[in-house]
Amino acid sequence: MKKILTTGLIAGCILFVISYGGLYLGVRFFPHLFVEYNNPLFNSDGSRDILFYLHAFIISLALSWFWDRFKVLFKGSFIMRGLEFGFVYSIIALLPVMWISFSSLDITLIMVLSWFLYGLAQAIIAGLVFAKINP
């Protein structure tokens, strides 16, 4: 349990920097991709900002538990294990969620694809961290 929490927190810190750093750069250099977020569908009063920034730790801790439970199934070098882990998570968890989101919410395909790729990148980075520090 301690190992799960430790690796989860380490991955959380790394994901926090990479995810929000990447998002900041994305907003700065590709602003047109974010115009659709000016929509009441997305929280606008700042009341949930803390939850937004905690996401990196929530996904890291959840993936850390998943990794610890099923890591024996991922074979090969740490890069291959991290990549496979990321793809498995994306296919099992992200794809169905993105599918139902696109089908039921007034959001664009670009938006959903960007969320899928964002989640995939997060899961691969977390997988690489787990494969390295909790093989």
Binding site: V27, P31, N38, D45, F52
Partner: protein, 202 residues
């Protein structure tokens, strides 16, 4: 006997005085009335850290009047233009809904512009003339007074074109500009309200 002679004189004096006062009052409040036509428009322009937006009410769907009266202290305007927040079009459905939500459309469905005064009487000429005046703008139930520079002109069909614009802040009306994705996308506090009123003199 003497009192009998004074009474008609006194009545005559009162009648003449009342007539003179009425005439003076009438001269001082000589007024003109303009009817705001339906092809008048209003726009709200603003920006975020990623884009600019321009939201318009392309056609005014009421027929209102503005009355201008000469008073000792200047030119007083009387008239209220009520614009429906739901008529805004930001050329992007999400941004339109966002503006309506930010302006608290459910609770305050109308934006009011009340014309209060002008510094001079506009001349009915084709050449645009610049005048200033006071208006009260009411958004989300909060009214603020602003001085506005108008451009006024009259075309061949005797339609008076009144153009005015003014920079405002969301915060002037106790509104919070929206922010998204943990504050990475922020709407700037300042926005410009511009209106183009087409009016005919009654």
């Amino acid at each position: 006997m003497q009192y009998k002679n004074i009474l008609p004189v006194a009545i005559l004096f009162i009648v003449i005085t009342c007539f003179a006062m009425h005439k003076k009052l009438n001269n001082n409040t000589r007024s003109k009335t303009w009817v705001v036509s339906q092809n008048s428009s209003l726009s709200v322009n603003g920006s975020t850290n990623i884009n600019k937006f321009s939201c318009v009410i392309p056609a005014y769907d009421h027929t209102d009047t503005i009355t201008i009266s000469k008073k000792d202290e200047g030119y007083i305007l009387t008239g209220d233009i009520a614009l429906s927040i739901s008529s805004f079009d930001c050329h992007n459905s999400g941004m339109t809904r966002q503006l309506q939500k930010t302006l608290n459309e459910k609770q305050f469905p109308l934006l009011h512009i009340r014309f209060l005064s002008l510094n001079q009487l506009p001349e009915p000429i084709a050449k645009p003339e610049f005048i200033t005046g006071l208006v009260a703008i009411e958004i989300a139930g909060v009214a603020k007074h602003f001085e506005i520079k108008y451009q006024i002109s009259q075309d061949d069909q005797k339609v008076i074109h009144l153009l005015g614009s003014r920079d405002l802040n969301f915060s002037d009306f106790n509104l919070t500009p929206p922010q998204k994705l943990g504050g990475m996308i922020k709407t700037k506090d300042q926005l410009t309200v511009a209106f183009n009123l087409n009016m005919k003199s009654l």
